[in-house]
């Protein structure tokens, strides 16, 4: 068994011609396209919350912890270490934020979250890099230990504090928030006009300049910083080379193990910070079970994003957005049914016309028609099912777009010094 997994199903990817680099321009096109689709959907269905600045701001809030966890995954997997232990590291981060945040203030909470996450990273690094343990095994063990440690320590250290208990920390003071005063309200006016596209764009911009937590801004900077460090600095080049071809890197004098070790520790720090965000910004409190599987979702977002920060950000945003609109309730999820229906039919037609995949195409069309029927025959999606929106969306998008993913060549492989030659 190896953490790299099976290749089956990905061969189709390799047979296709290499795609052009996906740069900032392409991301902009995709973003505008998505916004256009959303605008049309809002007009057609009348589900206004679909592009409200409130929904988008909530989406950002929900996307940040996922994005940070994913960023942790990115650092580790770019160096060739699969990190399924992100969830455990996040949990450690929430506890760290709660403990240090309560005793020494919110900034110490940020540090505490990072440090606790790094501790998880250190364990993972020691197991996988030093001892060559299978990455999946180590990750699973970290998730178990992370959960246990946080609960155990919470029971030990939060019990008896004012408002604290075995399942939660006392209140932590808030980190500062930012709003661009004039701009925000001006955009609000435009947003309320309900103009096609223009209002939606205003909503996006407004969400970005209203009540942004400092930690959100830091998270965004970390994305840019990660991109710069990994793709523009020699440190990053070495780190990536270690995930692509450790043997080659070692033959050029790169200390492979050191880079892997560092990457995994940074990975833990980022995941811990993601947990810290949950405790410090999303809740002002450590709460047992607060991460709710976001570490796994972060991992998924990273794979979704093709092991690149831009793609990961897109994945996290997609998940955060769909989660936000479903949590905010209302007609949005129902409106999505129409979108799914149209997309499925379109994909089905494409499969039949372009790829001659009659069965797959017909299946997609049939499901699409069924979903469309559901949309028109109902007023709302049952409450029990709305919660699955982000997961269904992610699966659907992956089903149609995951063919082009490529992980770092040596990801998941166990590397031992000098053995590759």
């Amino acid at each position: 068994m190896s953490a790299a997994g099976l290749e089956v199903g990905t061969q189709t990817v390799l047979d296709r011609p290499r795609r052009r680099r996906f740069g900032p321009r392409e991301y902009a096109v995709v973003a505008v396209g998505a916004l256009l689709v959303i605008s049309v959907l809002r007009l057609v269905t009348g589900a206004d919350d679909i592009a409200s600045s409130g929904a988008l701001a909530a989406a950002i809030g929900l996307a940040v912890p996922i994005g940070l966890a994913g960023l942790g995954g990115l650092w580790s997997e770019r160096a060739g270490v699969v990190n399924i232990g992100l969830e455990g590291m996040m949990i450690l981060g929430t506890w760290g934020a709660g403990f240090f945040g309560y005793h020494m203030g919110p900034w110490a909470g940020v540090l505490g979250a990072i440090l606790m996450g790094m501790l998880g990273g250190l364990i993972h690094a020691t197991a996988t890099v030093t001892f060559g343990v299978d990455h999946i095994v180590s990750g699973v063990a970290i998730n178990i230990i992370g959960l246990g440690v946080a609960k155990y320590l919470a029971a030990r250290f939060f019990n008896g504090l004012p408002g604290g208990g075995p399942t939660q920390s006392p209140q932590i003071r808030s980190l500062p928030n930012f709003t661009l005063p004039g701009v925000s309200s001006g955009l609000g006016t435009v947003e309320r006009k309900n103009w096609f596209f223009v209002s939606d764009l205003a909503a996006v911009l407004r969400a970005l300049c209203t009540n942004m937590s400092i930690l959100t801004i830091i998270a965004l900077l970390l994305f840019v910083g990660t991109w710069w460090v990994l793709w523009r600095s020699s440190f990053g080049l070495r780190l990536r080379s270690v995930g692509e071809s450790p043997v080659a890197a070692e033959s050029l004098g790169v200390n492979v193990l050191r880079y892997k070790f560092l990457a995994v520790i940074i990975s833990g720090g980022l995941a811990g910070l993601g947990g810290g965000f949950l405790a410090l910004v999303a809740a002002n409190i450590y709460r047992d079970g607060q991460t709710g599987g976001r570490g796994y979702i972060g991992l998924a977002a990273m794979i979704f994003g093709n092991w690149r920060p831009g793609g990961l950000l897109t994945g996290a945003a997609l998940f955060g957005y769909t989660d936000a609109v479903q949590l905010r309730g209302g007609a949005t999820v129902h409106a999505f049914l129409l979108l799914f229906a149209v997309l499925l039919v379109a994909v089905g037609v494409w499969q039949i016309v372009r790829n001659q995949r009659i069965v797959q195409g017909a299946l997609a069309i049939a499901v699409g028609v069924l979903v469309g029927w559901w949309y028109f025959a109902s007023d709302a999606v049952p409450a029990e099912l709305t919660g699955t929106t982000p997961y269904v969306t992610t699966l659907l998008v992956l089903a149609f777009a995951s063919q082009r993913l490529r992980m770092p060549a040596a990801d998941g492989q166990i590397y031992r010094k000098g053995e590759g030659h």
Binding site: M1, S2, A4, G5, L6, E7, V8, G9, T10, T12, V13, I84, I123, A127, F131, G132, V133, D134, I136, V137, S138, V140, A141, I142, N143, I144, I145, L147, G148, V149, K151, Y152, L153, A155, R156, P166, G293, Y296, I297, L299, A300, I303, F304, Q360, P382, E384, L385, T386, G387, T388, Y391, V392, T394, L395, L398, A399, F400, S402, Q403, L405
Partner: protein, 372 residues
């Protein structure tokens, strides 16, 4: 080969023992650092279980075992079915609904329900298989997503079919008829409770797992795929079909996970039905090294720790979650110990091959009289 095997057996015994010792030391250090009563904790966890608790250990282990085997089927071919959790919940729901209808008498009802559970689990897993084979979606992601989707779908269906009775705050499917409720075996003298009848299912599954993987063509193909996908392809294994089969088999086995609980204890599926067994299965499969016997030991150890930790708060005033730390550390320690031993073993084997070959060459050159 015999002496080597003896050494190997000794070494594979040494690893878990070493790991337990390490886990003991690490946990004690954590306890001492935090200021908890080290002695009381171990006294509680290592106390000789009462007959009742022994039954609980056996029962919990039999359920863990099914889950771990379901996971291991995938692991053996490098397929990461993280979705056993969702699969068994979908399956036990389907089986509980069916069994609750009491369309069939007694044992027939049970057997049919088990079959339905396997079908339901397999079907749910087949979504991931399809996405993997046809759409290239990593099964790690798809099964994680499907777990969450299973939660939504099952609670929606549960609300639709639920059988509420007055005064109860839990919702559950219709209780299965008395004739289909299994009373269990009295295996351990002095216990007031009984061992699940369906422990036989675990034993059967364990045997089948060992037999199919180790002794059949199918098993050979599956293991070959896990060891080297490219070599398996070249040898004529249809890997996409293997993935589909293994994933569905894993899902079908996952479907069995809830059966001992359903027929031997809960008698319906509701909001208080045990969740999270799929994740425990992953850890246990890894601890048992995907081996039928290894997993059995791992299940018992895991169940033992779970059951013994129940008294931690009562006896030692320490949070029960401490057991998660112990379990995690054991998992780490075992795999690290095995890894170190594996490496030593490999080195020894290569050295031996080289040495014996050198000896052969020596002999050959002597007999041929060729100049060295």
């Amino acid at each position: 080969m015999k002496p080597l095997n003896v050494r190997r057996i000794l070494m594979s015994m040494a690893a878990p023992v070493l790991a337990l010792v390490v886990a003991f030391v690490v946990t004690s250090l954590v306890l001492a650092a935090v200021g908890d009563p080290v002695w009381d904790v171990w006294k509680t966890i290592l106390a000789v279980p009462k007959p009742r608790q022994m039954v609980n250990v056996v029962n919990a282990a039999s359920v863990f075992y099914l889950s771990a085997i379901a996971v291991a089927v995938g692991f053996r071919m490098n397929l990461f079915n993280i979705g056993v959790d969702g699969q068994y919940r979908v399956a036990v729901f389907a089986a509980a609904v069916f069994a609750g209808q009491a369309w069939l008498p007694g044992w027939l009802n049970i057997l049919a329900s088990i079959a339905i559970a396997m079908v339901a689990g397999g079907l749910w897993a087949s979504i991931a298989a399809y996405l993997k084979v046809k759409r290239g979606v990593s099964e790690v992601i798809s099964t994680i997503m499907l777990n969450a989707i299973a939660t939504g779908v099952v609670s929606w269906l549960l609300v639709t079919v639920s059988d509420r009775h007055a005064g109860s705050n839990s919702i559950e499917t219709k209780t299965i008829p008395d004739s289909s409720q299994l009373q269990g075996f009295t295996l351990i003298p002095g216990a007031t409770n009984r061992v699940y009848t369906l422990i036989v299912l675990s034993l059967l599954v364990g045997f089948l797992y060992w037999f199919v993987l180790g002794k059949t063509r199918f098993g050979f193909d599956l293991r070959a795929t896990g060891r080297s996908e490219s070599a398996a392809v070249a040898s004529g294994v249809k890997v996409p079909r293997m993935v589909t089969t293994a994933m569905i088999a894993s899902g079908a086995l996952a479907g069995l996970v809830g059966m001992p609980l359903l027929f031997g204890q809960d008698h319906n599926y509701g909001t208080t039905f045990q969740a999270g067994l799929g994740f425990a299965g992953i850890a246990i499969a890894l601890l048992g090294r995907n081996n039928a016997v290894g997993i059995a030991f791992a299940s018992i150890l895991w169940a033992f720790l779970d059951v013994q930790s129940n008294a931690l708060q009562i006896q030692a005033n320490v949070a029960q979650e401490l057991v998660n730390i112990i379990q995690g550390v054991i998992l780490f320690a075992v795999v690290i110990a095995y890894e170190l031993i594996r490496r030593a073993d490999k080195r020894l084997e290569q050295a031996r091959v080289a040495r014996e070959l050198a000896a052969q060459r020596q002999a050959a050159s002597v007999t041929e009289g060729a100049p060295a």
